[in-house]
Symmetry: C2
Subunit: 225 residues, 2 copies
DNA sequence: ACGAAGGCTATACACATGTATAGCCTGCTG
DNA sequence: CAGCAGGCTATACATGTGTATAGCCTTCGT
C-alpha cells in the first residue's frame, strides 16, 4: 500500500476542490445541466476562479477525465503489481476508491466522451481475454480486441444503467446489500453460457450465409436486444 | 404481416413529423442539447407549433417515450404471435423498424429516464430466463427478475456505448459489416462461460462469507468491470 | 356562401448560463 | 519597506433557450 488511495499531493488546493466538485456535479446532474456557478458554490469559491484555473467548462471536463484516467491507471498498476492477486481487501480498497467517480464515469461514457478511458479498459480486458484464449480448444473467429470492446461495453452497461438495476432489485446497487445481490447475479450469469455450442454453430452458419448473401442491406441475427 | 412496420395511421401529420424529428434530435444530440427550434426546423414547422401540440419540451419527450414503448410492445407481440419464431426475416424487419430509435433509446436509458421501457425489456427477458431455468440442474440463488435486470443492463450497454464499440471495431456498429462483426463477437462471448463452475462456487463462497461477516461496509468481490 | 374552429406562424419576453474584464488582497522577494 | 506576481472575487456582457401571446389562413360544417 505505497500510496493509499486518498489525498494526492496537490490536494486541498482550491484547484483540486474545484475539480472534485466538478466530478460530483457532472456525475450527479450531467455535463449540460451542471453549472459553473453550482460547482463553484460546492467548492467554496467564486465562479470566476473556475475560469481562472481551467479556462472553460469544456476544459474543466477534460481535466476531470484526465484525473480519472490517472486514478484508474494507478489502481490497475497497484492491483497488477501485487503478487497476491486474489487479495480481496485490495480489490475492495480499489472499488472504494472508485466509488465516488462511478457516476461521473457512467455519464461520461454514455455521452460518447471518455473515449480514452473506455479504450484503456478495453485494453486491460483484451489482455485478460487473450490469456483465456490460450487454453481454449476452438479458435475464436473474432479478434480479441473486438470481443474485449463488446464485453467492456456490456460490463459498463451495469454502472451506466445503475438506476434501473437498483429499481429492479429494490435496493440501491451501490449499497452493500445491492452490491452483494448484483455480484451473485453476475456469478450466476457468468457461469452459465447463454448459448450451447450447437446454438452457436447454427448462429455462426446463419451469419456466414448472410455475409455471403447480401453485402449491402440490413442483417437479421440476434444481437442487440 | 398484418401491420407492416412503417407508417401508422396518424402519420404524415405535422404532429407525427414533430415527434419523429424530436426522436432524432434527442437521439443525436441528447435531450438537453436538442432545441425546440432545431426540432421544428427538421419537422418543417414553426417552433410555436411544437408547443401548440405538446405543451412543453418535457411533455414532448414523454410523448416520444410513449411512442417508442408502443412500438416496442407491438414488435414484441408480433414476434411472439408468430409461430415460426426462427423466421429471420421477421427479426430483421423488427430490427430495421427499431434502428431509427436506437440512439434515442440509448440516451434515454442512460440518463435514467425511460424507466418503463427498461422495465418492459426486463420483463420480457425474465420470461425468457424463467424458461431457461426450467431445464437446469442447479437451482439459481438469485430471483429471475434480478438476473433479468442485470442482463438487460449488460445487453443495453452495447447500444448505449455504441460509439466506443464502433471505434474499437473500426466500422460503424450499425453498418452491415459492423453488425456482422458484433454478432459474431456476441455469439463467441455467449457460447463461452466466463467462469467455470469451480470459480463460481468459490466466488459464491466468498460472497457468503462476506455477507455473514460484515453487514455494513463495502464489499469486495469482482463484479463491476 | 358564411362563419367558426383549429392548425400554424411571427414576435416578444424572461431568464439562466458561459464568458470576459477590472480590480482586490495576500504572501513572497529584493 | 516597496513592489509585484498570482490566487481570488465582483460585476457586466452576450447569447441561446424555453415559454407565452396575438393573429393569420385553411378547412369543414351548415
Amino acid at each position: 500500500m505505497a500510496t493509499p488511495p486518498g489525498p494526492d499531493p496537490e490536494d486541498l488546493t482550491a484547484r483540486a476542490r474545484i475539480r472534485d466538485a466538478a466530478l460530483r456535479h457532472f456525475g450527479d446532474d450531467g455535463f449540460e445541466k451542471a453549472t459553473i456557478r453550482g460547482i463553484a458554490r460546492t467548492a467554496g469559491v467564486s465562479p470566476g476562479l473556475v475560469r481562472h484555473h481551467f479556462g472553460s467548462k469544456q476544459a474543466l471536463r477534460e481535466a476531470c477525465d484526465e484525473h480519472l484516467m490517472k486514478m484508474i491507471r494507478r489502481l490497475n498498476d497497484q492491483v497488477r503489481a501485487d503478487t497476491t492477486l486474489s487479495d480481496v481487501s485490495y480489490v475492495g480498497a480499489a472499488r472504494a476508491a472508485m466509488a465516488p467517480y462511478q457516476l461521473y464515469l457512467a455519464r461520461s461514457l454514455a455521452d460518447g466522451s471518455a473515449a480514452s478511458i473506455f479504450d484503456e479498459m478495453t485494453r486491460i480486458c483484451e489482455e485478460w481475454i487473450a490469456g483465456a484464449d490460450a487454453g481454449r480448444p476452438d479458435p475464436p473467429d473474432v479478434p480479441a480486441k473486438i470481443r474485449a470492446a463488446v464485453f467492456t461495453a456490456m460490463a459498463l452497461g451495469i454502472p451506466v444503467l445503475a438506476p434501473h438495476i437498483s429499481r429492479a432489485m429494490g435496493v440501491d446497487m451501490f449499497s452493500p446489500e445491492g452490491d452483494l445481490l448484483l455480484s451473485r447475479a453476475l456469478v450466476d450469469l457468468y457461469s452459465h453460457p447463454l448459448m450451447t455450442p450447437e446454438d452457436a454453430a447454427r448462429a455462426r452458419a446463419g451469419l456466414d450465409r448472410l455475409a455471403g448473401a447480401r453485402p449491402p442491406g440490413r442483417r437479421t441475427e440476434e444481437n442487440s436486444p
